[in-house]
């Protein structure tokens, strides 16, 4: 399995490496990459998105939503009851001053967020609204709220079962909690499951965490400077990513980490300004969202189409149940793993309920989706809703913001590039952790992964959106298949921790240090 997997990766990487020489061929390099990529990944994508027999509903979407609902009920609506406590924890009210200098709750949350806030919020939402109509927003918000419980479960486990090495560094994530947790419960099969998760995590890192980002960054740049071959953007990005993850150019990463939160805040601020200017239409927009949620307002697939798109894009954006955040959150130094789980439930809230909703509202309010005046339904252009500029994905969001603030697409372009970059850096780490879980820690094995990661940046930028988005979704959802399956067995361990923590919090044994 391992050999086949490496052979496949090397093969795909080779296509990117010999790129420029092939550009002279009859078919352009971009088209070749695209065709090969679609052919290689097709069967995997079809399996993940296979509909439930007799319906058009992909089983994977059902899988995520049912899981999030079960965790929500199992933990007694923890996302609502502990929301205030999560904010206290992030503010540092419960942080022991003697632990100053360790990773704080705020830092773990910010790091995890910079891995999730990005193109999913800008391009993904545009895809959801473009296919599923405004109604997709309703399902997206619902999925975001439910997803908070999934995040709580996996991040608690991430901290509880991480590996702490003698030199003081840590490695955590689903592969560790699956193998250790199953062993603790005496359930066989933990190790193979952890290996399977790691394989999918590597694919997810190369797909959604890399190719999708490179692809959309290219779309954004070429939208401003004009069309040019995607592999050029890919090479430039690959070189910068290489400088950071292989060359150890921490300065680039540090600048990005500082600029990204600023960009995020600016993005939300711009959205709020646009909404404030069009305040008289907010009621209408919410009307469209609610009506569309249950009727579809003429979109392909009706309300089921809206629901599928909403759930899909929410999961892709906030990654609840996927297991990636558990890797990021596991670095926090805390005596109580539950605290990190509680903090992590803010992540889908900020990512999906706040930021994604902003994007959707701006697209709807600025009238990007063309309504047929005769029927009041949306005009269709194939399976997509017709838009004012014929745009989709990130270009649709850009057009929406641009229609209100003419220069905003330039700011958005910079934001997209930076978001794409920071997501890539985060996912290169997630992928690396899965890689080292499989092949062991060591300089050479790490370098091999990092080189493959850079090669995929080029492929991602060169391929067209369709196959890339399919593969990215499929790989990330495949992680959720394994992770959630394991979470069903492990959730009782979280419950024990949670109950004990809740009691000690109520009895005053867990004290506030300030505030």
């Amino acid at each position: 399995m391992r050999k086949i997997f490496i052979a496949l990766l090397v093969q795909i990487a080779a296509i990117a490496a010999v790129g420029p020489a092939l550009a002279q061929e009859a078919m352009s390099l971009d088209a070749q990459v695209n065709q090969t990529f679609a052919a290689v990944t097709g069967p995997f994508v079809s399996f993940i998105f296979a509909p439930i027999p007799g319906t058009s509903f992909p089983w994977i979407v059902m899988w995520l939503v049912i899981a999030a609902s079960i965790f929500t009920i199992y933990f007694g609506f923890v996302q609502f009851r502990f929301f205030g406590h999560a904010i206290s924890l992030v503010k540092g009210d419960y942080s022991d001053p003697n632990d100053a200098g360790e990773v704080s709750h705020f830092q773990a949350l910010a790091t995890a967020l910079s891995g999730t806030v990005g193109l999913g919020n800008i391009a993904g939402v545009a895809v959801a609204v473009g296919i599923g109509g405004p109604g997709a927003t309703f399902w997206m918000i619902l999925a975001g709220l439910l997803g908070m419980a999934s995040k709580f479960t996996e991040c608690t486990l991430g901290v509880k079962y991480r590996n702490e090495y003698e030199d003081g560094t840590v490695s955590g994530g689903p592969m560790y909690y699956i193998s250790k947790g199953f062993k603790q419960l005496g359930i066989p099969g933990g190790k193979p499951l952890a290996i399977l998760f790691s394989i999918f995590c590597i694919l997810g890192a190369l797909g959604g965490g890399n190719m999708f980002q490179a692809n959309q960054a290219h779309a954004q740049i070429s939208g401003i400077v004009g069309e040019y071959p995607g592999w050029i953007t890919g090479v430039v990005f690959a070189v910068v990513v290489f400088a950071v993850i292989v060359g150890g150019m921490k300065s680039i990463a540090r600048v990005t980490e500082k600029v990204v939160p600023f960009m995020g805040i600016m993005y939300v601020a711009a959205a709020i300004i646009i909404l404030a200017v069009n305040y008289d239409q907010i009621g209408w927009a919410f009307g469209q969202i609610f009506e569309g949620a249950f009727t579809g307002l003429g979109v392909a697939g009706g309300f089921v189409g809206a629901l599928i798109q909403g759930f899909k894009r929410a999961a892709f954006s906030n990654e609840a149940g996927v297991g990636s955040a558990a890797i990021a959150h596991s670095a926090v130094r805390t005596k109580e793993p539950i605290t990190e789980g509680v903090v992590s439930l803010l992540e889908p809230f900020i990512d999906t309920v706040v930021i994604c909703t902003m994007t959707a509202l701006v697209i709807i309010i600025t009238g990007q989706l063309i309504v047929d005046p005769a029927t009041g339904d949306y005009m269709m252009n194939g399976s997509m809703i017709a838009t004012v500029g014929g745009t989709s994905g990130v270009a649709l969001t850009s057009a929406a913001f641009g229609s209100a603030v003419s220069w905003f697409p330039y700011v958005l372009a910079i934001a997209v590039i930076l978001f794409a970059f920071s997501t890539m850096i985060s996912w290169s780490y997630y992928g690396l952790k899965a890689w080292t879980y499989l092949f062991g820690e060591g300089k050479t094995t790490e370098l091999i992964f990092k080189l493959i990661f850079c090669a995929f940046v080029i492929i991602g930028a060169a391929a067209s959106l369709g196959p890339v988005i399919d593969f990215s979704d499929a790989a990330i959802f495949a992680m959720a298949v394994v992770n959630i399956f394991a979470l069903y067995f492990l959730m009782k361990l979280v419950k024990q921790e949670f109950y004990s923590y809740r009691e000690r919090l109520a009895s005053g044994e867990i004290k506030k240090f300030k505030g």
């Binding site: 200098g101 704080s104 705020f106 790091t111 840590v170 980490e257 500082k258 990021a328 130094r333």
Partner: protein, 145 residues
Amino acid sequence: MTTTLVIGLDGHESGERVLDYGKRMAGLIKDSELLVVYVVEWSPYSFQTPEENAQRHKRRDEEISLATERVIDPALAKLKEAGVNARGVVRHGHVADILNAVAKEEGAEQIIVGRASNQGLVDRLFGSSTSTLVMSAHVPVTVIG
């Protein structure tokens, strides 16, 4: 009762003068102890990469041992040589907050620090750690020029 004086060192040359002054004060007070504090500038609200987070605990230990070795130990050696009763501590956080917090915890009589060692643009705009300390401290602060 022992009188505790907090000495804030930042690893710059003014530290010598701060120590000398502390030594003199200790000589004037009958039963005294100097608490030498070095603060590693750190904020719980900064942004870090996942890799930096994973290595944070290790880096923290390294920062503490480096500060102890380079600043605290030489200072304590000098004070002990002069027969002064002294302890040292390394903490993470903002200089002004930590010095004030340590002074409070230890019931110190006063805090002795050096004048701001660099007067860059940021310091001019937002005030140096020393000026923040002078404005916010709960005990008297002596600033050595």
